[in-house]
């Protein structure tokens, strides 16, 4: 994969994110105010999140860590607008999305968020390029416009030679790179990665992390959910969750 390596020569600039985040750090891109999430389990109410206050700034490179059951997944679902908080406010780009109707949430996801999943979640019947174009399709881009966006993205993740392959014909690392390209297609404000390297061997996982570093260096805001401490070391900000609360936050901005 020489292209990918070529694209990632800037991975040495690992210290850069701090400066990039500072440059665009006027307003937080994400702000949670007293967010709680309750689940009804039979007659019990389980509080998965108990009053989370959090600001994430443009250009942040953040990992969310914690043992299983700490509320990581709930956090991701709420940040990803896949689920709504029971209590509290969630401002995304200054707009409260906590209680938006379903259709609006779909638009928010489609326009402002990029998702990268542990199991890649590519659509099996579509080719690499078509998979990258899925978010664009729902934003009403034409086929031609989509192609103009998807081809450079395939190039960026080093898969232009496999543009017309189906996901089943790709390795795990390659599939995850398609997923990254797909997450970038809408030029989202925030990219959410859920255990993005969990299914990969260390070599492929390393490649993916290098891409993340590069994206952050380019100014993208990345949030990674992980239980892997070594991944957390790469990120500029680490958030630890415990029992639905923030236990530790290396808030480099001090705000």
């Amino acid at each position: 994969m020489p292209e990918s390596e070529a694209a990632l020569t800037a991975s040495a600039q690992q210290d850069e994110p701090v400066s990039s985040s500072q440059s665009g750090a006027d307003d937080p891109v994400i702000e949670l105010r007293g967010v709680e999430k309750h689940y009804q389990m039979g007659s019990f109410v389980v509080k998965a999140l108990r009053g989370v206050d959090l600001k994430i700034f443009p250009g942040d490179y953040m990992s969310i860590l914690g043992p299983s059951g700490c509320g990581k997944s709930t956090m991701l679902n709420i940040l990803g607008c896949l689920d709504q908080p029971s209590v509290g406010e969630y401002l995304l780009d200054g707009v409260d999305v906590a209680q938006l109707p379903d259709d609006h949430l779909s638009s928010v996801r489609g326009k402002k968020l990029g998702f990268i999943f542990q199991s890649y979640n590519l659509i099996q019947q579509l080719t690499v390029l078509e998979n990258i174009e899925v978010p664009l399709y729902y934003q009403g881009f034409t086929e031609k416009e989509s192609r103009e966006i998807s081809v450079p993205l395939a190039e960026k993740v080093g898969l232009v030679a496999r543009s017309d392959h189906k996901p089943t014909e790709l390795s795990g690392g390659q599939q995850q790179r398609v997923a990254i390209a797909r997450a970038l297609a809408n030029d989202p404000s925030v990219i959410l990665a859920d255990e993005a390297t969990g299914n990969l061997d260390s070599k492929s996982g390393g490649d993916i992390l290098e891409i993340f570093d590069q994206l952050n260096a380019d100014g993208k805001t990345l949030i990674m959910i992980t239980h892997d401490e070594t991944m957390a070391d790469r990120t500029s900000r680490v958030l630890r969750l415990k029992d639905g609360e923030i236990a530790f936050d290396t808030n480099v901005h001090g705000r």
Binding site: N77, G80, L82, D83, D102, D103, S106, S107, R109, G110, K111, F115, F117, N121, L122, I123, Q124, Q125, L126, V134, P135, Y137, Y138, Q139, G140, T142, E143, R182, N186
Partner: protein
């Protein structure tokens, strides 16, 4: 989210290109499970094919029946003399040697005088005996009638001419043969100009008319009579018949002797306007009931038969239509079943699409399109099969089949409608999935 808002929303955002992409995507998804998609569509194929072929066969059958009735003339009322059955024969006639029955000239004059709208009556008498050409003979009928007989009966003259008014007035010994009689008596020769003998009288052939298929078919359907003399008719002026054979007809058959006196064997009354036919038929019925103690006549009203055939056809169509509709319904249920399985199987894909910005209506639309593609493709294939089956039926069973231009269109439209109808529930189920749970689905 109601269906109406989804549809109106979809239509608003529906450009041709978007639809085309959705269709391409749908085909791709269906293509992933080729066999399953094919088998599912097969239900619709058979449904549509059965709709089209059943309509074609039903239409063809009723067309044939109606054609036979129309050949009798829809504005005609046909009266025939029938030998009364022995039980109803009155005592006084039993003593007489000559059996007297049937329609009389008195009936005709009364009908003409009192029933409104009766245009012309074609009286006819017949004598059954052997017809001879030199030494070859055929068991046939001499039919005494009037010159306007072929016109009223919708029978074409194949060769020569029919006899004229003048020949009737002159009581000329001329005759016109039916095609089948001509074939039997003159298999090789040209019949026109030859003579045909019945008993001791000779008649010159002036023309050949086509066989009365309508009556032959109708009679064989109603009574199942299989007399050989059917259709073997020699038509002569009714005046000539009276001259040569008299009023009393003698029959010598198989050693027994029989004498009959029948004034008229058949009378066809033509009614001026179609709407007068049924009242006229009732009026004639009254006259005949008054004049005849025994039921020694038979009245046939082709229009009545036609209307009855029409009603039968309606029932036939409803029955066939219901059977076909049920098969389409079964096809639709099959489609729904498979789509529900597909939705469950593709839960994860639905979750992914929702995460990537798909609204509920996008998901509904995607699955609805897939269902419609499935049922539409089945419908198209079904139209092909449905057009082929009537051809095979016509070819092998020699039945008339008629494919009405609207039948394939209707069947195809129904198949698409079934796609929409049975696609709604699975599509809504797909859209109503919780994205979080859908993404977690294995």
């Amino acid at each position: 989210m109601s269906f109406a808002t989804v549809i109106s929303g979809s239509i608003r955002e529906l450009s041709f290109f978007r639809l085309r992409r959705s269709v391409v995507l749908g085909i791709k998804s269906l293509w992933m499970h080729k066999l399953r998609s094919f088998l599912t569509a097969l239900g619709i194929v058979f449904g549509v094919a059965s709709v089209i072929s059943m309509l074609a066969i039903g239409e063809g059958a009723s067309f044939e029946a109606q054609q036979q009735i129309k050949d009798l003339g829809s504005q005609n009322i046909i009266l025939e003399s029938v030998k009364p059955s022995n039980t109803t024969t009155a005592g006084e006639q039993e003593r007489s040697l000559i059996l007297e029955y049937g329609l009389t000239y008195k009936d005709i004059s009364q009908i003409q005088a009192t029933v409104p709208g009766v245009e012309v009556t074609i009286p006819s008498r017949q004598v059954k005996d052997f017809l001879w050409n030199k030494s070859s003979s055929v068991d046939g009928i001499a039919l005494g009638t009037v010159p306007w007989f072929p016109m009223m009966k919708n029978r074409d003259i194949l060769r020569g001419r029919f006899f004229t008014d003048m020949e009737m007035d002159d009581r000329s010994p001329v005759c016109v043969l039916t095609a089948s009689l001509s074939r039997n008596l003159f298999p090789l020769d040209e019949p026109i100009g030859k003579t045909v003998r019945m008993q001791t009288s000779y008649f010159r052939v002036v023309g050949v008319v086509e066989d009365d298929r309508a009556i032959a078919a109708a009679e064989s359907e109603i009574e199942g009579s299989g007399e050989n003399s059917d259709g073997m008719e020699m038509m002569i002026p009714i005046t000539t018949l009276e001259d040569h054979f008299g009023e009393v007809l003698f029959k010598y058959r198989s050693g027994s002797f029989e004498a009959e006196k029948v004034e008229l064997h058949e009378v066809t009354a033509r009614i001026e306007k179609p709407e007068q036919v049924m009242p006229a038929a009732q009026a004639i019925q009254h006259i005949l009931e008054r004049n005849h103690k025994d039921i020694d006549y038979k009245m046939t009203v082709p229009l009545d038969l036609l209307q009855r055939a029409e009603r039968t056809k309606q029932i036939f169509n409803i029955v066939l239509g219901s059977i076909a509709a049920i098969s389409l319904l079964v096809g639709g249920i099959g489609i729904m079943n498979i789509m529900l399985a597909t939705v469950t199987e593709r839960t994860r894909e639905i979750g992914i699409r929702r995460a990537l910005g798909a609204k509920k209506k996008d998901i509904i639309f995607q699955f609805l399109i897939e269902t419609v593609i499935l049922s539409g493709a089945g419908g198209l294939l079904g139209v092909g099969v449905g057009l082929a089956i009537p051809m095979l039926v016509t070819h092998f069973a020699e039945m008339v089949t008629i494919i009405q231009f609207w039948a394939p269109t209707l069947a195809f439209t129904i198949s698409v409608a079934i796609g929409v109808l049975f696609g709604i529930y699975p599509a809504f189920r797909a859209a109503d999935m919780n994205p979080v749970e859908a993404l977690r689905h294995e």
